[in-house]
Symmetry: C2
Subunit: 313 residues, 2 copies
């Protein structure tokens, strides 16, 4: 890359699927003069150093934040507040601080009080992922053609929002802005409730008396398999999501339960017409998703100019 | 193929995803001396003739069954009884008659009374599919490394069961035998309940006030997308499944609802430990599915000896 990097120094705190993918993509696009990375455990830090994707791997979050122009927390939602507190006094004036958490209301509530005046807080959530985690699971193409939602608090400097938008755009994402509250409602239905349901049904299948686990696995190709992929996602991440976005998830769950009762009643009554009508209606949503190109989990190669680091779909 | 075909004449009644895939696979493997096909509408029959996968396309189910050594109904579960009645007097003594329905108890109940003595009734269910349907949606590799469950009524000639097993094995499937009742329980949890849940949640997402359908589609990559694929399956097929396997589905649904209440309670109470424990347990099932190679929807090329007709994953 010959263009000047977007940020002189980028600090990545947390180096799992998301942090690791940001690192690979930012490096591939030459977006950072220097990438400084850290993670919680010595083991992950050692692995990151070994992978050679960051320019420097440091021991503490404070050290990583020191002098960085952009700091991104890619860590479980539940620890964002504590980490913000840890790094607050090390943030450089004018720096942008962001995160990638799947819940935004709680992250803003937990982080904002610790952040000093003079830094720009622009929370973000890239709506992209796989069921894998850890430093080896990331890949540069994860964000291509996926949405990244920014939820800047009112009064945030628009120039800072624009710079972060440029960063996400450069690594392939499409960027949208909304309030944290609206984000949490949208994600409750498009991500959190589906995960809760998938975790439930996979648990149900595991404890049946009449049908063995081995049968469940063997004959999973009829639909169940897709739920197990979702229910294999990281337990820490998802515990934090459900603890911090409880209200929105409970609201969606209420509507879901009503709808399930309706379908159950139709089945019980043998009302084939009601079933047929419902099953026809839901096809339209799928068609819409296919039309806007959000139907495949496969990373979208061919848009970024550099070669793939790792394919992981 | 130089080996003698397994069956002199194979009749395929119904030529959608499943019938069309059987035709392509049987032809690729040279399993039939002649493939005779039919479907409900003149339009589909014309398309099948155009595709050139069957040796003969006929107008009526009776004509198709005439003189066939193996007759397979690949039609919605709800019409199997009527079609059995239609073709009964045309079945050749010693012929094997089978189906591919996703429910087995009801199919046996509806078909068996019409079938004459001297033919062998061996119901089957290949646990493989996609969300597509129609004569163009089939492909020869659909059944490779997938299970096909046979549910022969007590007293069925073991030689007939073996011949059908050989047929399914030759087109790539692994074959297992069980009672129709057990089949219906197993499939209720591994396929029918997942579909009911997916149809429900996609319906829920479509009618929310706070979140628009366009937002649901845009941000579907966080999990919802996978449910929409399932909820795009054929409405006729699924209406029939829920009407004919009601009892087993309701039984599984009861357990599911209890489990969902438990998880909901843990979330409401902020019981992170209970959530974490549950989310860790469900990962094991996924690991099991990956280990036995049932984790991917992609057709498993490279096992059949002939070339792919169409890839459709
Ligand atoms: N996975 C997805 O599909 C997805 C999608 C969109 C957004 N997100 C969000 O992205 C965030 C990270 O998810 P992920 O999938 O990348 O998780 P992950 O693969 O489990 O990685 C988490 C990383 O955070 C580090 N970490 C944990 N606590 C820390 C602390 N106190 N200080 C510094 N580092 C710490 C971990 O270090 P160790 O390895 O040393 O423990 C690890 O490197 C979550 O907030 C999640 O909500 C996830
Ligand atoms: N799709 C799956 O994932 C899957 C998996 C395993 C088993 N199954 C089972 O396979 C069966 C067929 O499913 P499919 O996905 O192949 O369906 P499909 O693509 O919709 O095809 C159904 C076929 O049945 C024909 N048909 C309907 N009524 C008929 C009648 N009275 N006489 C003759 N032909 C008739 C249709 O003809 P027209 O085109 O002219 O209407 C069409 O060719 C169902 O019983 C289903 O339970 C499906």
């Amino acid at each position: 890359m010959t263009a000047a990097p977007l940020f002189q120094r980028v600090a990545l705190i947390g180096f799992g699927l998301i942090g690791g993918s940001i690192a690979r993509a930012a490096r591939a696009q030459g977006l950072a003069g220097e990438i400084v990375a850290t993670a919680h455990s010595a083991k992950t830090r050692a692995r990151v150093a070994e992978l050679g994707i960051a320019d420097r791997v440091v021991e503490t979050n404070a050290e990583a934040a020191d002098g960085a122009d952009l700091v991104i927390l890619s860590i479980p939602v539940g620890v964002c507040g504590a980490v913000a507190q840890e790094i607050a006094s090390h943030l450089k004036p004018g720096a942008i601080i962001s995160d990638v958490g799947s819940v935004k209301g709680a992250v803003v509530r937990d982080m904002a009080p610790h952040l000093p005046a003079g830094v720009h807080f622009v929370p973000a959530h890239p709506v992209a992922g796989t069921e894998h985690s850890g430093p080896d699971s990331g890949f540069a193409e994860l964000f291509i053609n996926r949405w990244c939602i920014l939820t800047p608090p009112e009064g945030t400097d628009p120039a800072a929002v624009d710079r972060l938008r440029a960063f996400w755009t450069a690594i392939g994402a499409r960027v949208e802005t909304m309030t944290p509250e609206h984000h949490d409602l949208v994600l409750a239905i498009t991500s959190h409730l589906p995960h809760l349901i998938a975790y439930t049904i996979v648990g149900t299948a595991e404890e049946l008396g009449d049908v063995t686990s081995s049968e469940v696995m063997k004959f999973s190709a009829g639909g169940f398999r897709d739920f197990t992929r979702i229910a294999a996602s990281d337990p820490t991440m998802w515990r934090d999501v459900f603890l911090t976005n409880k209200d929105a998830v409970l609201e969606m769950l209420g509507t879901f339960n009503e709808d399930l009762s309706k379908l159950t009643r139709a089945m019980r009554r043998g009302d084939g017409e009601a079933l047929f009508e419902h099953f026809t209606r839901t096809r339209a949503i799928r068609r819409g998703i296919v039309e806007i190109g959000q139907n495949s989990a496969a990373p979208d190669f061919g848009r970024l100019q550099t070669s793939a680091t790792k394919k992981n779909s």
